[in-house]
Amino acid sequence: MEERGEVYEKKLLDRIVDIVVDRVASVLEIVRPGWRTRNEARIEEFKLTLYAFNRSPPGLLGVTLVTLFVIVAVLGPYIAPFSYDMPLVLCDQNAYLASPGKVITVREGSLCHQVYGIKPGNYTLILGADDYGRDLLSRILYGARTSLVVAILVMLVGPLIGILLGLVAGYRGGYVDEFLMRLTDVFIAFPGLILAIAFSAVLPDRIAGVVEGYPIVSRILLTLFSLKPEHVGPLANLVSVIVALWIVWWPGYARLVRGMALSARENVYVEAARAIGVPTHWILLRHILPNISGPILVFLTLDFGAVILVEASLSFLGLGAVPPIADWGRIVYDGAEYFPRAWWLVFFPGLMTLLVVLGFNLVGDTLRDVFDPRTRRRIEFKVKRGR
């Protein structure tokens, strides 16, 4: 048995991890006394996982990119100089296809000042503007929010359905398994993009109906996306893309989880649980799921980037985010006709998408190495030996 309190060679990041994790653990200890002793080993394992992660420079880069993305997405709408749909050509003709760094002036008493409430003065359009004079920087900040919320909403539902169905299919086997897998096959057989296009064409009206019917729903969505109430229509389009992606995304998880559950259920500890009389749902949640969570987590991480990319692609095709909603893919679509004259309209949103997806991919790859028992051991001992 390992000696507890074995000294690891800790890097600075490891120490930061320690502080953060310990703080959280202390809080949890206050809420539920005794929690700390019960989960001491779990906390150590968790820290070790993070140390392992810290040993990978690409992984750290990925985490940085993802963190920046999330910060930008959450704070974007509050720090953006202008609103996502503010046509600055109304203030100053120079705003039309303004190149990065161009300065525009808002005059006292002008339309911009009186109606839109923009303080008079000079403004630098750091990343330029589009054909409506909408500030690209602001639109990119709002676009980050759009991407993040779409990704979260898709990833909350799609994989969940897939994982649940996969667990049931893999554990039960027999006819249940056959039926679910053939259902999965049907859905996988559809080319995802075509299905998404079809749904994006058909659903918006229906969704608009739902959204208008339940004001709570529309209010929540508008807040999430940081949109103005008058843009409920375009919101419906976005939501229909999300729904389409739910339908397209679950089969992958169903198949993955079903395969893993199938082999996991052969483990002796599952048989031991049955011998004790543990009910099926307990077995699935405590014995099967935790032991297959590694690959699932990797999949989820990589998928986050994939969803953002797919959503941007759909918007780029003209589906999905409809103006005036700020969406990176849509900005590229709109700006394509001015390329290469107004190259910034294609370059910056493209760059952002690239960086974000890259970030998720790097994190996902590093997680895969950290969770795979074979590579994990190597990394673990690198931690312990300080190599």
């Binding site: 051991r377 190597r378 673990e380 001992f381 690198k382 312990k384 030996r385």
Partner: protein, 339 residues
């Protein structure tokens, strides 16, 4: 260490040290092992998991897989009386000629030794072809039938054409024995050959090995943790613990006069089905970590006779004509009582 063995040595190991360089650290798997095996005898390496018996056997033909490395030591092989070969100094090409041809192995799991895509006959003739004992695969298949007859395989003409999955465990192990013997080796090393087969098949295999030993003039090195097998098969026994030989003696002496505390404890922990025992003595503690092995005698943390001096590595003491022990209990001036 010079025990008067009065025999014709076939292989001599002197001061062998083997380390494994793993991510966890350096595993000092073999820590100064020396022994001599006489031509024609059955020599047993006995011990529990991690004692180093398999590594020692592999070291005899430098078959240690990475990350293992033979740090120090000599292995001298005498293919014929008077002719000696220094294994450590051979080139890779030369050692390959010895491995499989003059010194053959059979391992625990016959299933993994056989390629599921090829028939048993193919395996045998491929081996013979590789060592240039036949001229073609066709000759090889004919020889293979003869080999299978020698290992008492039922229906050898049919079995030559069988694939591994068509064979039972016992037949596979016979097949593997056949492959190893097809090159007429001088030494056969059997590493836990019967762990994966049933007791009745085990009996058949052991009796086969005994017969083959005398008919082919083989020297057999048997590696096992089963003391019953040792009693059945062996002439001399070396008991290993944590990378060292703690005791070596003829088989009768090991069972009747075990000297080393570990050997004694081991024998008391083995249940004998023929007698109703009232209590099995267990050995407290666990097998040590070989990355940070105990200082001095590696058994001292578990030894009921522990003394200060045990923190120094004990040399080997001669307690009988062919009986040596690595334990300070026997280093004193007074002789130790029997039993």
């Amino acid at each position: 260490m010079s025990l008067s063995l009065e025999c014709d040595p076939i292989i001599e190991v002197r001061d062998l040290y083997v380390n494994f360089y793993t991510y966890a650290g350096v595993v000092k798997a073999i820590d100064g092992v020396s022994f001599t095996i006489c031509r024609g005898e059955t020599y047993c390496l006995v011990g529990e998991t991690g004692c180093g018996k398999t590594v020692t056997a592999k070291a005899l033909t430098r078959a240690i897989p990475s990350p293992g490395r033979i740090e120090k030591g000599e292995v001298i092989f005498y293919p014929e009386p008077g002719k000696s070969v220094n294994i450590m100094e051979l080139s890779d090409e030369e050692i390959r000629r010895i491995r499989g041809k003059m010194i053959s192995y059979i391992f625990q799991d016959p299933s993994s030794a056989l390629d599921p895509l090829y028939t048993l006959g193919h395996h045998i003739s491929e081996t013979m072809l590789a060592h240039k004992l036949v001229r073609s695969m066709r000759d090889g298949i004919r020889e293979a039938v003869r080999v299978l007859k020698r290992v008492l395989m039922p229906d050898p003409e049919e079995r030559v054409k069988s694939y591994p999955h068509e064979l039972s465990g016992g037949m596979k192990q016979r097949g593997v024995v056949g492959i190893s013997l097809s090159t007429k080796p001088k030494i056969l090393i059997a590493d836990e050959p019967t762990t994966a087969v049933d007791v009745t098949i085990q009996a058949q295999l052991m009796s086969l090995l005994k017969d083959l030993k005398s008919s082919e003039g083989l020297t057999l090195i048997l590696i096992t943790h089963n003391m019953g097998l040792v009693a059945e098969m062996c002439d001399r026994v070396a008991v290993m613990y944590a990378g060292r030989i703690v005791e070596e003696a003829p088989v009768l002496d090991i069972f009747k006069n075990p000297r080393h505390p570990y050997t004694r404890a081991l024998l008391k922990a083995v249940p004998n089905p023929l007698s109703k025992i009232h209590r099995l003595e267990s050995i407290p503690g666990t097998i040590p970590d070989l990355i940070k092995p105990p200082k001095g005698c590696r058994f001292h943390p578990r030894c009921p006779y522990f003394n200060e001096i045990c923190l120094k590595k004990p040399p080997e003491f001669k307690v009988g004509a062919k009986h040596r022990v690595a334990c300070w209990l026997y280093g004193g001036v007074e002789s130790v009582n029997e039993g």
